[in-house]
């Protein structure tokens, strides 16, 4: 035992060394990771022409705030922004709500063909979206829904996504059955239990779903491209791609719009970040 004693400080030194090394590497990679992000914001404040300076200039000089109003009025970006927000929020509510409904049914209620239907649901995870792109377009065309928000919103109100149903089901199975049984004894219906017990207890998983849902809808390019033609119906993603075609050398303005496009994601991420990282890391997204 006495011989082992001198090892203690050496062990501590070793631990200190690897921790320092870990911080340095993580920090360095993290900084490199953020370079494109920084470059986007930096370029968005550069005066016209200086974005082409060689070698590249990291901090804009002078800082041109006017790029933002200029860029935002080149195309009706306020309308694009509003449209994207409408579609995204409608899909978040409908997608998460109906997914949690199905998740509750699949996790807590017994009914015929439950496991068969749940495997069907899970198998749609593997289904590539593009298979339904053309036939859905024809369906919506016949319904006269093309060039409206309906094809982008309505399908989401029917069960959201299989991934969310899976996540929700995983989470619901961790909620103690006693809570539900007690409520049932007090005469609560399944609907009441879902709304007043399951949903309030599921904040962590709802936060993760909210981020995923917001991100995928805010990002979506394919469906707006296929369904939205009129300028006043288009979304940020479409608007930015149109702008790229017209003002392709005005990198400062393109980066200004890209930044505006990113801001809601940043806001949401920082609001939900704690819940998201915790929620995802502890609620068994991995399905273990």
């Amino acid at each position: 035992m006495a011989a082992a004693k001198p090892k203690a400080p050496r062990k501590r030194i070793r631990e200190l060394t690897w921790k320092t090394a870990a911080y340095v590497i993580l920090g360095a990679v993290g900084v490199v990771q953020l370079i494109p992000f920084f470059w986007m914001i930096s370029t968005s404040f550069k005066p016209r022409g200086t974005e082409f300076l060689w070698p590249p200039q990291w901090i804009p000089n002078p800082v041109v705030l006017a790029n933002y109003p200029t860029a935002l009025t080149l195309l009706p970006f306020f309308i694009f922004f509003r449209n994207t927000l409408i579609i995204t929020i409608a899909n978040m509510i409908g997608g998460i709500g109906t997914s949690l409904m199905a998740a509750y049914g699949f996790s807590r209620l017994r009914f015929p063909y439950r496991s068969l239907l749940f495997s069907v649901c899970l198998s749609t995870l593997m289904l590539p979206d593009v298979v339904t792109l053309v036939p859905q377009f024809i369906m919506f065309k016949q319904l006269n829904w093309v060039n409206t928000f309906l094809p982008l919103i309505v399908p989401n109100w029917f069960g959201g996504s299989a991934f969310f149903i899976f996540l929700g089901r995983q989470f619901f199975t961790t909620i103690p059955m006693e809570l539900e049984d007690a409520a049932r004894m007090d005469g609560a219906s399944s609907y009441r239990i879902w709304w007043s017990i399951m949903i309030p207890l599921s904040k962590a998983v709802i936060a993760s779903m909210a981020i995923f849902s917001f991100q995928s809808n805010w990002n979506d390019f394919t469906r707006p491209l296929v369904y939205l033609y009129d300028t006043d119906k288009q979304t940020m993603a479409l608007g930015l791609s149109v702008m790229k075609g017209v003002y392709q050398t005005d990198w400062n303005l393109l980066m200004a719009i890209s930044t505006v496009f990113t801001i809601p994601m940043i806001v949401l991420f920082f609001l939900a970040q704690r819940q998201f990282m915790r929620g995802i890391v502890t609620t068994g997204l991995a399905g273990r």
Binding site: M101, V130, T132, V134, P135, M255
Partner: protein, 314 residues
Amino acid sequence: MLALRSLSGKRSTAPVRRGRLLRQEAIDGFVFITPWLLGFILWTAWPMLFSLGLVFTNWSVLTKPSFAGLANFSRLAQDRLFYIALGNTAYYTFVAVPLTLVTNLIVALALNLKLAGINIFRTVYYMPTIIPQVANVMLWMWIFNPEFGLANALLTRLGLPKLGWFWDPRWSKNAMIFMTLWGFGTGMIIFLAALQGVPQELYEVGQLDGANSLQLLWHVTIPMITPVVFFNLCMGIIGSFQIFTTAFIVSDGKGGPANSTLFLVLYLYRNGFEFFRMGYASLIAWVLFAIILLVTLIQFRLARRWVYYEQEVI
């Protein structure tokens, strides 16, 4: 709980009540899954059937559909662009997916270290992923700008020749893969979640047996998370086969330069929504689906060899 159990246990005394409760539960169950079930029928099952029929037609949507027999199939067999698109898609998928998987896993392992303030690093590493895709592609077109971009500035500084990146047929797909690798994103988060789920006792047992960190990683961590590696691999392949937005933005929807970014979904889109060949576009979708299905089935078959082996390894 007890009350409900005894209630359902008393078959002889209250069979009617019990039956009614069970029936009520089944009805509620169906009500809860109804939105999903309707959605599955309306937006997945029926469109797929419909699309299967479309494969045998010529239809521009504007006019009436006409039966085309196997014309779309023979067209596909001789379509040079289809094979180019297939090759591009396969190249992108089989290069990008393994690289993404490995980098995401390494980053997740690093972010799983027990260090003070690790949550700050987790946030920072997720940041690039929150840039919306179209904005991100735009940003990388600027970084990869052959004349004034950051990437070539760095290459020049290192004494290397400038590259054409997105605008050079030999580099365009690699530039896209590079761009994809930059954001660690969801795959990394899923790995992280799995790593947090590995039972601590396993490490303690391993340490008692005298295993070092590397041995623990190889014999405990990796085997325990193989199901998630498999999940990320399958989802990665399915997602990569459907690459579209990046190529559409970079090439203005054309798939250039020299068809080097013409991927299957982009080619499908052009046929369906630019040339209005709905039947042909549907056929491309089904071919893509068949390929994805085949690859996924092979994955599942291979998975028997490397997923869930933890008991034997330890």
